[in-house]
Amino acid sequence: MKGKNPFRKANKQIFIPLAALLGLVLFNLIADPSFFRIVLSRNSVGYPVLSGYLITILDNASELVILAIGMTLVTASSGGQDISVGAAIAISGSVVLKVLCGTNSRPETLQAPIIVAFLVSCVVAMFFGAFNGVLVAYFNIQPMVATLILYTAGRSIAAWINNNELPIISDPVFGYYGNYIPGIPIPTPVFIAILCMIIIKIVLKHTNLGLYSQSVGINASASRLNGINPKTIKLLTYVILGLCVAVAGFIKVSRFSTINYSVIAKDIEMDAILAVALGGNSLAGGKFNMAASILGAYVIQFLTTTLYKFNVSSSALPAYKAVVVIILVVLSTPTVRKLLAKAKEAIMRTFLRKPAATENGEVAK
């Protein structure tokens, strides 16, 4: 019995992004069913690849999904959000390119193995995650304010690392991680995202990370009395988010084999926070549902791609997004839910009363 309850609650929570996804799917089915067509075609290099809007969604949502995983943990444990992930992606991407290119900004050959560059960027991103984590956990600063520091400085640090040059990597192997591996028709980021999901699933299942971060988020002093160190847990979640940032940043720079410091991953922090909120997780910390967050990330990308398909220009896109977000959030608030339930009841009552009224009328006649 006890095992069933949280499961049912989780189901209820995942209902919000699921309903949003269904709504979007229905809308697209009615508006233009060709949205769901997937074609096997040849890309510019000549390998067979799958293409279609659904593939685009899965592909482009990868970074967001990876960030949403880390953001969910951070939100749960510290009751706040990290707004510096976009800037941190710029830093880790810049580090990858710096290691690969060395001193020359347009090298013929890679100066270091790709795996080394990736690991170095992981270390750097985890360091910046730890910086945020220390401010939040040990100095008791509000997460949004603490991460505001890196948000302000991040892109400047990224430009500084590469001396404000824009290195371009010509080696095609580097592009495999953000595009296609020859012979495999599905974009590589999809696999990376799935790998991350599997890893976090295993971690949450076999370690106490999920339990501890939730208990710290619900009541830090109570968990301290129970032998959990809230500071360490908070710091740990920020370091994990740093790792997620490194992976996402690696995919981002691999997509274009170059970097634009002021544009790369712009506003992705807002989308990542939105994914957590859409998943029905409280942004004030505490209980979380990882699957719902991940689904939330896919819903956001689905929405973005749908809007692009209807020729909404990229600069006007946020306005439409905002309207959809507000509708979703308003519909999921308890007040509105109560109102809806009442309206439903009222409708039911009028339908039930109608025959009664006619009966009375007949009797009166």
Binding site: Q81, F139, V145, I149, S156, S315, A322, V325, V329
Partner: protein
């Protein structure tokens, strides 16, 4: 000791506010004094100080709104893009629709009011997290700006140009230039508006029932409700005022730059948050001061000026030093407050 305990508890919230305010003002004057002594030329003239005000009049107004919302425990990140939307709408109205300055002001206030009512309603009466609501507001304003007009253009309306050119001379603060001619110091119209708003809000926050209820709601929602404060209405008013101030701030910004562009005031919300934090307002709510916010803006721009005059011209240095400064202030604040509350806790035990 026992007799004094209730009193310290009662004024604990206010002392936090005053202590943080004190730190801010001291740091600002030390910094400015150091700049005058060591960097000289650029900072010695009074006009240098007035230029900081001229540049940042809009930011002062925005930060005031941000502080209000932060005192009630919320946040508003739609301020920057709202400013851009106001600028663009006013510019289009003045140049393409034959509007007058009056109609432009009305548009600015109207946009601010509309955003305030919607966001305030969603936050206060539907209990949606302020971050999400204003995030949506930010996206909406950003998109609407480009829908209204997608290019940057300078406004040519003569009445507006006349208004923009108004300079208010500050007596006794002028300087004699190399040719021996006296050049009076001046401030722009926006500065007067900004300082008026700071004064009014200072009085409202300190001596009115509404102002005290802002602190009460932000300090402890439950206690405020038990004391009979209408928490929902207070939050609603805070968000309404914040967006309205963004409307006014948007017009002041427009008056300063005289053009409409989708890229106006990008990141202004983060600057406003930073200024509020430096000024001693805490995101947790219940602690804050408008005068501190004013000094927060001044400190922020002084440090930017110092960085530029040190010859660190590359764009990244400004951002990195500003971030460093926020970091230092946050750590000071947290250490002061932790130590104080830690000491109190020890006393009780």
């Amino acid at each position: 000791m026992k007799a004094t305990k209730p009193r310290t508890n009662r004024i604990a919230g206010m002392s936090d506010t005053n202590m943080l305010l004190f730190i801010t003002i001291v740091v600002f004057f030390l910094m400015y004094f150091a700049a005058v002594v060591f960097l000289g030329s650029g900072f010695r003239k009074p006009q240098a100080f007035f230029n900081i005000l001229n540049e940042n009049a809009a930011l002062i107004i925005l930060s005031c709104g941000m502080s209000l919302v932060m005192i009630t425990g919320g946040i508003d990140i739609s301020l920057g893009t709202l400013t851009a939307l106001v600028c663009m709408s006013c510019a289009v109205n003045l140049d393409y629709q034959g509007g007058t300055v009056f109609s432009a002001v009305m548009i600015a206030l109207g946009i601010g009011l509309a955003f305030g009512i919607v966001q305030g309603f969603l936050v206060a009466y539907l209990d949606i997290q302020p971050f999400i609501v204003t995030l949506a507001g930010m996206f909406f304003a950003k998109g609407m700006t480009t829908i209204v007009n997608n290019t940057q253009f300078n406004v040519k309306n003569p009445a507006f140009q006349a208004l923009k050119a108004i300079r208010i001379h500050v007596p006794f603060m002028g300087a004699v230039n190399k040719l021996g001619k006296y050049i009076p110091a001046y401030v722009e119209l926006g500065v007067i508006v900004a300082l008026l708003i700071v004064l009014v809000l200072f009085f409202v926050l300190r001596w009115t029932k509404l102002g005290r209820s802002f602190y009460a709601v932000g300090g402890s929602l439950q206690s405020a409700v038990m004391l009979g404060v209408n928490a929902r209405r207070t939050k609603f008013i805070a968000h309404l005022l914040c967006s309205l101030l963004a409307g006014i701030g948007g017009f002041v910004y427009f008056l300063h730059v005289g053009s409409g562009s989708p890229s106006h005031a990008t990141g202004a919300e983060m600057n406003a948050i930073a200024a509020s934090i430096i000024g001693g307002t805490m995101l947790t709510g219940g602690v804050g001061n408008i005068i501190g916010t004013l000094f927060g803006v001044l400190s922020l721009s002084t440090i930017k000026n110092i960085v530029t005059s040190l010859g660190l011209d590359e764009a990244w240095w400004t951002n990195i030093t500003v971030a460093f400064m926020i970091c230092v202030f946050l750590v000071i604040q947290s250490m002061v407050l932790n130590r104080k509350h830690g000491a109190k806790r020890g006393e009780i035990q």
